[in-house]
Subunit: 471 residues, 2 copies
């Protein structure tokens, strides 16, 4: 058993929930507070928040500076196994997203239920240690090799839930509807057979997952039509209808080729097409949305939907640069995702979201909320609020009703020492390379202490054994 | 005394040099080798390299995958103290490099000799732990407050040498000539008085440093005219003449405003101006060179000079994107520098150098050396070779005559496990967030073991006390 009382390979959900957490300093919705008592309820939500109070004897005190947990709103867990394995130019250097995709499809061959659970567990432990407290898993690897159905069609989904529970991360499970290989509505390609579902198959999967996890405190269910190219319009209507009040996530306008194919088939660009035909609103998360014209950018911002930005993946895949400055100027909301997991760090996502804007606009502090709010806090607050919205949480930040999820930065690290408040967040976002997250709490459970997770050795051993097996 | 036998606050030069180092695997000039014996001479250079041999009993064995050390070719050590302190939009959001520069000048007020040594020691320890084995210090903070000369005009230079020796990093000391506030040749501004030197003062400083360190095995001296805006043409001639065979570094074409001012005063763009009037060649390092037209890019590449690229600083300051793809296509050489130390990580510099290209060109593997050489190794090899050239080393890589400087990656880390050779370097460059460098050797001395430096606690304590004093 580890220091936290967690047996090796056991679930992190075995870690007891703390009813009272005491924070030396914390970022609350109206600013920085000190001596903060957080009371949690039995389902891991915040029941009350009180500042400037002494530490009760029954509270767990977390020394440091606390932020609300950062949601990771876009993940394909299995891609963690191939991070960094496709960095060659290839014969067709001009079109490398698609050659990367081919390599990713080939690498899927070895990934069955046990492998997915091992890979996802390692990934989720890494996420927690980096400060992500929720993962929204955009899950399309439904079937066995050659597209054969598992005896339980939800088998792979269950394995993702198992991985999330071993790690102790909050899960937003987004089962993906993938029905076509392109805008022409053709059937899935050989490499896509493991993803393919028709309307009935998708409705059945959703139904099974709602039965299994509809009451779970640690799992939220959403709906994810993969993209306009993989889901023909009538099916997209059905998927949206199935969502009810749940979050709806989809990929959109990531690659120029995809934009061109959409225009060729519909006469309209993808974001414009979607906004014209669907009541896109705050329950929606449009992942990437990289390629928008000015009018689309403003229109998307005005819907109140969240742009799901994945800066390290979008850079690695050569997607292009999201128009973040004009989107924010129009009031647009965003969150961040580690997507392909080429990097698992909210710090790197946030600073390079900002830096890509600086490089093309040639000015600084682009995403700062006005001249008096430094960039670090502006980015962190936006990603927390946008992430919580995309995850369908009832509330965001350290407020009653929100998940009792937070991270604590180490104020004794040389990078943060002597910094307070907003200046400390600027150092966290812009000046760090080494991990600065000391403690992480999910649902009232302290799942990372002193930078370490009780399952990290077991998860790493399983992961490495898995990679060795499927290599 | 630490595990390495180094007393707290003592010099890392007290660590004994190993005469024989044995590497399980290493990147040599002609590719990957195993079971490699490196013999070092008494001055910390490589005497011989032999592969496929057993480990002698008198060798120190370094388990893991070894790379030549990565030179950090551009550093302003004192800026480490303000990393992340200037992330506000400010009143003039359109021109923020210059507002950042004002903030940096103000922060200098508290930095005297003791403070500079403490800040630089902490920084150099951080560099070593990140895998940098050499730092080229572009040093302009020569004088005391209000521009008063120190009793010893080389006082601040000596403190940088002291810091480098406490940390055990190889130093390329580049005393800077800073004589004017702009292309009009006006005198330095109030904020620049601590940098200002005339021709005699500069020659005297160089002379003193050559006497003190001309024979040192761990210090290389170069010459650094700050920039075309700070050094009028006749003085630039004098500085180049003073260099002899030493490296010549200068800032150039970092900001658009600087390019415009150069054109206004000379009719020509900065890089074109310099190449027209000076015999720029392999001894030169042009730092940034961000803003070049196509002909300048090719012309600079053809000189054999090194472009000193600082991707994280150039992003943070909103400089713009260096034309790396066309520069490399023309045979251009580059190295990397952490410059303002907003980040201290060769991994982040290298991958975002590549990623900025991918984002604007919308393809992948842009800086790969051909279709068969993955991007990670291409970037690492280029930065090692370009860095060594800019530092004036007689040889580069793990070859006889080169510095006995290397780093060893941890093959047991889950990110690298199961990866070998080029695939391991792709994972190192593209897939890591946590530090993967286990051991670092400089001049035959093992200065980092298991990721830790024997002076790291003492250096951090001095640094934090210094920041508290000057805050």
């Amino acid at each position: 058993a580890s220091a936290a009382g967690l047996p090796n390979r056991g679930d992190a959900t075995a870690i007891p929930r703390m009813r009272n957490l005491y924070l030396d300093a914390a970022l609350l919705p109206d600013g920085w507070a000190e001596r903060v008592l957080l009371r949690c309820d039995a389902r891991g939500r915040i029941a009350s928040v009180t500042s400037d109070v002494p530490c009760p004897t029954d509270a767990e005190r977390l020394a440091g500076v606390a932020l609300p947990g950062i949601p990771n709103l876009h993940s394909h867990a299995h891609q963690r196994a191939i991070a960094g394995l496709a960095e060659r130019a290839g014969p067709d250097a001009a079109d490398c997203f698609w050659t990367w995709r081919d390599a990713m499809y080939r690498a899927l061959a070895g990934i069955g239920p046990d492998e997915l659970e091992a890979i996802a567990t390692q990934l989720y432990v890494e996420m927690l240690r980096a400060g992500y407290t929720t993962v929204a898993e955009f899950h399309y690897l439904h079937h066995d090799h050659d597209g054969r159905r598992f005896a339980d069609p939800a088998e792979m989904s269950h394995r993702l839930v198992a991985a999330a529970r071993r790690a102790g991360i909050r899960l937003v499970l987004l089962p993906v509807l993938y029905a076509a290989s392109g805008f022409d509505g053709g059937p899935p390609l050989a490499g896509q057979r493991r993803f393919a579902l028709d309307a009935d198959g998708y409705a059945g999967l959703l139904q099974a997952l709602r039965q299994a996890y509809g009451d779970a405190a640690d799992v939220t269910l959403g709906v994810a039509p993969h993209s306009l190219r993989a889901v023909p319009p009538p099916l997209l209507q059905e998927a949206v209808a199935l969502a009810g009040e749940a979050p709806i996530h989809l990929h959109i306008a990531e690659q120029v080729r995809e934009v061109e194919e959409c225009r060729a088939h519909t006469g309209v660009r993808p974001v414009a097409w979607l906004l014209d035909r669907f009541a896109v609103g705050p329950r929606w998360c449009l992942v990437h949305a990289t390629h928008m014209e000015a009018a689309e950018t403003v229109a998307l911002a005005e819907t109140g939907a969240v742009a799901g930005l994945c800066p390290t993946t979008e850079a690695n895949l050569g997607d292009g640069i999201f128009p973040a400055a004009s989107f924010r100027a129009a009031g647009g909301r965003f969150g961040i995702g580690s997507d392909s997991h080429i990097s698992v760090s909210p710090v790197e996502e946030l600073r390079w979201l900002e830096y890509a804007q600086r490089l093309v606009l040639r000015r600084r502090a682009v995403l700062a909320n006005g001249p008096d709010r430094p960039t670090g806090r502006s980015l962190v607050e936006a990603a927390i609020a946008g992430g919580a919205q995309a995850c369908g949480f009832a509330a965001s930040g350290l407020v009653p009703g929100a998940p009792a999820d937070l991270l604590v930065l180490d104020p004794a690290d040389p990078l943060l020492a002597g910094r307070r408040g907003d200046a400390l967040l600027d150092a966290f976002v812009f000046a760090g390379n080494r991990p600065l997250v000391r403690q992480v709490v999910v649902g009232g459970r302290v799942v990372v202490r002193d930078g370490h997770h009780p399952n990290e050795s077991a998860a790493a051993a399983d992961f490495m054994a898995t990679l060795a097996r499927i290599a």
